[in-house]
Chain length 207, copies 2
């Protein structure tokens, strides 16, 4: 991930703060504190204050944070005070699970295009969306002006697929395939690989 | 994540090094350098050297690292020089995708138990494994001596499910449900939430 003026590790915690705030909202809460936010996420109150202070003054000494105000500010900082269209490449089990996931829209995202190269799948629908031919990727992605791709393809083809969608104008890739991608440095890449997370935990488990 | 003598952020990079090494092995390579490892993962060579040096001396000045030796050392450090059994809770699309994923076994893990509370699903098979009743969670998890759970359940029930599996002896949870879990501090929790990762990228996208 690119590093700007603000450390990337701090940026990576903002979506977690936002998620915790959304839950508090659902619970009917209106204000919170750095203490409470930290407890929900396993960070110290000092850490929460320090992270948020990098972006501005969002709370008042003694009264804490307004949940709706802080949420709106974080949404604006994360550029999700709009809806981003996503192209999903790979319509297997995992692709279906993601395409059917209801949580995207009210959190800033919408699956707008689903691509696969399997003739058996092309033309099928997932929800309202028809699975389209990956051979048309450049044309379809460009026409829709999509900048974000989620890859749920086999590891063996992930690199080729990633290069193709980058050619089509994709600037950020969330990669579910268990393989690192080698792409130009201006392309943002994040990985969702359960093995990486599991192995991270076993380091501590056996101690 | 618990913090020990070695910073957790360093620990979190070890599975990524291991993944890159495994790919190099598949490509037929026998040795690598901190430069090459870094390039594959987007870290500097200095970062790679510094990270690995926290755990020992694995390479030789000038000749670099033996890929198979370094892999074995990392597997041992991450405690995956054995197979860990996993209980998967939630047999929806995502649960099916994970249960059918072939990449676990040769990387230290095996789905050993699948649970759901839907009478329509209980008794069905995914691959060789029968979906069993979540009502029997404590008994089945204890009997199998399983310490790791993957949760692919709706967010609304994730907390209850997590508490139940912790009662059964689970010590580490990989949570796919888009909600933070509040659990005793000795329980390891990692999250796989695409929204968190997408929002992390959009911070940089619109700049």
């Amino acid at each position: 991930m690119k590093i700007g003026a603000i450390p990337d590790i701090v940026v990576s915690r903002l979506p977690q703060y936002l998620q915790a705030l959304n839950l508090m909202k659902l619970e009917g809460k209106q204000t919170t504190s750095s203490q409470e936010l930290g407890e929900r996420l396993g960070f110290s109150a000092a850490q929460v204050r320090k992270d948020l202070s990098q972006f501005g003054e969002f709370g008042k000494q003694g009264t804490g944070y307004s949940i709706s105000y802080l949420s709106k500010q974080l949404q604006s900082i994360l550029n999700i005070d709009r809806i981003w269209d996503i192209v999903l490449v790979g319509a297997g089990d995992l692709g279906h699970a993601i395409a059917n996931y209801q949580g995207f829209t009210n959190r800033g995202f919408r699956i707008a295009l689903i691509l696969d190269n399997d003739p058996q799948k092309i033309g099928d629908k997932i929800g309202q969306l028809e699975i389209q031919d990956f051979a048309l990727a450049r044309e379809l992605i460009r026409k829709a002006g999509i900048e974000i791709a989620m890859l749920t393809v086999p590891a063996s083809v992930a690199q080729t697929v990633a290069e193709e969608v980058v050619q089509a104008g994709i600037k950020a890739i969330l990669n579910y395939a268990p393989t690192p991608l080698k792409l130009p440095p201006n392309i943002l890449v994040q990985y969702l690989d359960p093995l990486i997370q599991l192995q991270h935990m076993t380091y501590y488990l056996a101690k």
